[in-house]
Subunit: 219 residues, 2 copies
């Protein structure tokens, strides 16, 4: 398992969670920043190793083995993110790229001890769940996107998409993070932008930003 295969498995996992369980060559090429032909090569290799099942021209999906490997990488990534945020005080938009490097160290003992040192956290700084050593995710409350909320109601932030560092910096500025309560003051139907109240301050967010914030109703 090289760093490269780690990245492929992790990305296939993320994309198949987001979509319909299988992932296209082009989608991987886009996310990984490598050419489609390189993706094909790697998929052949991962297929031979039994981590993915790949039928020519019809996308890939993770096998049970591959999913186990991917979840383990996600686990390492999220535990390191908690360390970087809680112990070293990195802003949450900074932790991702460092965790990308730390996640490749595969020592089981290291992660077990780090997890204990951090007090067995269940969620990373973005609110994403941390799988346990068997791969099981903590029980999740059902969430929806802030962009799907309606005017006047209060919502609690559960997690935010961690794909873009610019987005995270923007959310940080607005003090939007897991646990915070957001009130939807107004919904502008012409462009789906929202006027919201976060800890007493009024802000306007675009539909794109609102769609990256996962919330629950705050009763």
């Amino acid at each position: 398992m090289s760093e490269s295969t780690d990245n492929y498995l992790k990305t296939i996992y993320a994309l198949s969670k987001a979509g319909e369980g299988f992932v296209t060559t082009n989608a991987l090429s886009e996310k990984l920043g490598t050419r489609a032909s390189s993706v094909t090569d790697m998929l052949k290799k991962l297929n031979k190793q039994g981590s993915v099942s790949h039928e020519k021209y019809h996308g890939v999906s993770l096998t049970t083995k591959g999913e186990k490997q991917a979840v383990e990488i996600v686990r390492r990534h999220r535990i390191w993110e908690v360390f970087l945020s809680d112990k070293l005080g990195f802003r949450w938009d900074e932790v991702h790229e460092l965790a990308e490097q730390l996640e490749h160290i595969s020592s089981h003992e290291l992660i077990t001890r780090l997890e204990a040192f951090l007090g067995h956290p269940k969620f990373d700084p973005h609110g994403d769940p941390i799988p346990d050593k068997t791969g099981k995710m903590p029980r999740l409350a059902k969430t929806f996107k802030l962009s799907e909320g309606s005017e006047g109601e209060d919502f609690k932030v559960i997690s935010v998409d961690d794909s873009s560092s610019e987005l995270l910096q923007h959310l940080d500025l607005l003090k939007i993070r897991p646990g915070v309560v957001i009130n939807i003051r107004k919904l502008y139907s012409f462009d789906q932008s929202l006027e919201i109240i976060v800890s007493g301050k009024k802000h306007t967010v675009s539909a794109t930003v609102a769609a990256s914030i996962h919330v629950q109703k705050n009763n």
Copy 2:
């Protein structure tokens, strides 16, 4: 700077400190576990990059640039060792190989914050000095090897060689670590082995083991 070049620079640094300032191809080959021909290839590359000065058939030495790079790697390695030992509770014979992986992450910010989190340690768990961000080593007391000590005297352990994990496990068993006081009870001249007292317990150590323990006179 790849992991491979990191390892070459670090090893050249360590060997030139131990010897006469330059390092032979074979010595590197031995330490790194690669063939001499591979070492030659890499030395050519590092020479072209300006990190070492390499004259055919006459060994290498680090340039100012290369030494700076090497010290930075040593710094990262030793800071991670402190983290693994102090915070995660790894035994000191376990920290080395994990630190070997962590040291390749080159974020300056990460190391700065980690160092502060650890309270700006000056020495790693083996007693080796940690260079500061400018590359300066903390002031060192002069030490000699326990094998050079004489009968009856007390010595304080300053550091131990961290090259072999078996050696470190052995020292751990005998409770020999930096700070501990050792009394030389007897010196067997036929094989240079020593009978020593460590925290009230009597042990016998070979000349090899004694040569890996760096001490000062304990007045």
